[in-house]
Amino acid sequence: MLVSNSRRRENVLVKGARVLDPVAGMDTVLDVRIDCGVIAALGSDLDSNEHHVLEGSRFVLAPGFVDPHVHLRTPGREDEETIASGTAAAAAGGYCAILAMPNTDPVVDSAAVLSALVDAARTDAVVRVGFLAAISVGQEGERLTEMADLADAGAVAFSDDGLPVASAGLLRRALQYAVITGRKLALHCEEPTLSRGGQMHEGRVSAELGFAGYPALAESVMIERDLALAAHERRPVHLLHLSAATSVEALRRWRELGVDATAEVTPHHLCLTDDAVRSLDPNLKMNPPLRSVADRIALLEALRDGTIGAIATDHAPHAREEKDVPFEAAPFGVTGLETAFAALYTNLVEPGLIPLETLLQRLSDGPARSYGLEPPRVAVGERANLVLLDTETTWKVREDAFRSRSANSWLLGQTLRGRVAATVADGRVVFEESLVG
């Protein structure tokens, strides 16, 4: 169940854009007319009537993005992000829907907390939000949450993200109970005794800098365990933020054995390696950490061939005072909603590492399917969930331009090519970049 504050259904005409729907195999210059929030016509020289016109020439019009992994920090850390600021950031990033993780304070582990969030989203959310609920009470890994009640209250899926489900026994019970809820489990795979104290990827750079290492093995060992459990219980799972080549290899192998597992990867793991940590910038500290060149290549390969079907920002806002400290004292996590497309276009599409069509599918259709959500489409009769992309203009990532309440971006000060010109979410224009500058 995804909710937003959208009431109004708008009449919009997107004129002369290159309409690119990779799933439909569509790539043509067309006008797209939206009547009362629903795509009513695709064609040439459509009449604008009284419609709000989005000038699309030079731009690409694609299905709106879906981010399956966002930390909205609400409740508990509204200084870092709120439903309103987080969804405004999502709109500015081209997202028409996002999924929020339950590791808040309090944790989303009861129907009461979840219902309050869903209600708040009905008034505050600019784009549609779905909430995940915790697998274990307080994310403490001891007792299962009341998963059936939570599912009834609107939980889209279940996850202890931020922490692994350390106990194999508890995860097995959660998988068994998922038959009752019908919801997927989203797994943060980290073997805590291998990652203990780790600040960055264990490798040459950590050896040189002296940081405690968090080996790739800590992720892939847990993926092997979790997929073995999923195989045994015959339940689907979604693997969060893959970072390592060995994890990709494990996923392929278990899939061949028939396990129904989807997976996601973040823009920062696709664009960076642990070498970047030499700058000691706390905005390069995240969990899982940036890994080796070989890991990055394996992730790109898996994204290209579809082994990893979704790109997730793992947007993790942190207050300035929390990140304005030495690397080791800083919390894990970076923001990503407002920079994902530009970062990926600049670092992957422009250099020819992946085609634009693949990127668009992995930002929209892929993540929606991972959680069984209706994928956005550019087709007559569909609710309008669209993104208008300018792939030519360059822009500089500035701290004061974020809609997010936090600015812990690894891209600060960088010049990127590709920006979101407009976002239509659930039949309404939720973001429109001024064409000036």
């Binding site: 950590s206 400290v325 690397f327």
Partner: protein
């Protein structure tokens, strides 16, 4: 009288010198090391005089900011600054605003308001000196940041080796012990590589970080490998490494048996070094520590003159006045 020098250059308004820092050994070129050692050598000679204080840095302010306990490094920096007539101010984390939750940036900004010329900082977190350098107007000296770097320790070790063996190029140093958790090891490996020495890191598997070779050393788990070295450099072995869940080695006893340095493991002609503080009976046998081959006291003395040289070098831009006198000695 002999110290009076003629100004050969015309008197021009001085340019403000570029602010320099010593944050990591990687900030240094080989020529910098040679220049620092020439300066240190001249200071060493001056310390043989009855009045040991030099007026060189009169009117300058050196702040030492220690967020970790330290005896030799903090006292060494403080005495070095005093011997050069600088004003000194020592701040320890305990009892300071840091105890009240002040952030490192705010502490640095507060100190910067006094316009110190040099801030010497030790901090448990990697990169803390870089942060202070970025937000204060002072030259920053890293006196140890987490497990990352301790550049003045590496410089004083090199200086000690050069004074004892008469050379650095081609010297073979075996660094024995917990290299994983050691900023001394990281700085020293880099510094030895910089001056053309050869380094072998020896220790238990979990304490020799895979990938440290990239800094310019060989690695082995076999203590016998120290036989070929000119210098056996022993690292401190900390008890926390045996904590439940860490288990880097099974026990201190087993570590001592396998990797402890005894007089029997030292061959004639080898010298022994240790950055201190020593755990006698753990990583080093007391007999080896007190052996004439031990350079531990020489390291402490070198620490003073090398730190004097570092402070002097950061705060002056002109040529070292005594360089020519000692050039042959360090060449």
């Amino acid at each position: 009288m002999a110290d009076i020098r003629m100004m050969r250059e015309p008197l021009l308004p001085p340019e403000p010198p570029p602010r320099r820092h010593l944050l990591s050994i990687s900030d240094l070129a080989r020529g910098d090391v040679e220049r620092l050692f020439a300066t240190a050598r001249s200071f060493e000679q001056s310390l043989e005089r009855e009045v040991k204080k030099l007026p060189t840095l009169r009117g300058r302010t050196v702040v030492t900011l220690f967020f970790e306990s330290s005896t030799r490094t903090s006292s060494s920096f403080e005495l070095a600054a005093k011997r050069l007539s600088a004003d000194t101010m020592s701040i320890k984390a305990a009892g300071s605003a840091v105890d009240k939750g002040e952030s490192l940036r705010d502490t640095a900004l507060t100190l910067a308001a006094y316009d110190p010329d040099v801030i010497v900082i030790r901090h448990p977190h990697i990169g803390a000196p870089n942060l202070v350098a970025a937000c204060s107007g002072a030259s920053v000296v890293n006196a140890g940041d987490g497990k990352h770097q301790h550049p003045t320790q590496a410089l004083l070790d090199l200086y000690t080796i050069q004074r004892a063996l008469g050379r650095l190029e081609g010297v073979h140093v075996a660094i024995v012990g917990d290299a994983l958790h050691s900023r001394v090891a990281r700085s020293l490996v880099q510094a030895l590589a910089l001056v053309g020495a050869r380094t072998t890191v020896v220790g238990p598997p979990a304490l020799v970080p895979a990938g440290i070779e990239a800094l310019g050393c060989e690695t082995t788990f076999d203590i016998e490998a120290i036989a070929g070295a000119d210098v056996v450099y022993v690292l401190r072995m900390q008890r926390e490494r045996m904590d439940a869940g860490a288990a880097f080695v099974p026990s201190l006893r087993e570590y001592t048996t396998r990797w402890g340095i005894t007089p029997e493991r030292l061959r004639p002609g080898q010298v022994l070094m240790h950055p201190g503080p020593m755990n006698r009976g753990v990583e080093v046998d007391p007999r080896a520590a007190d052996d004439p081959r031990s350079l531990v006291q020489a390291q402490v003395r070198a620490g003073l003159v090398v730190r004097m040289a570092v402070l002097y070098d950061l705060l002056t831009t002109g040529p070292v006045p005594v360089e020519s006198a000692v050039r042959e000695e360090v060449a």
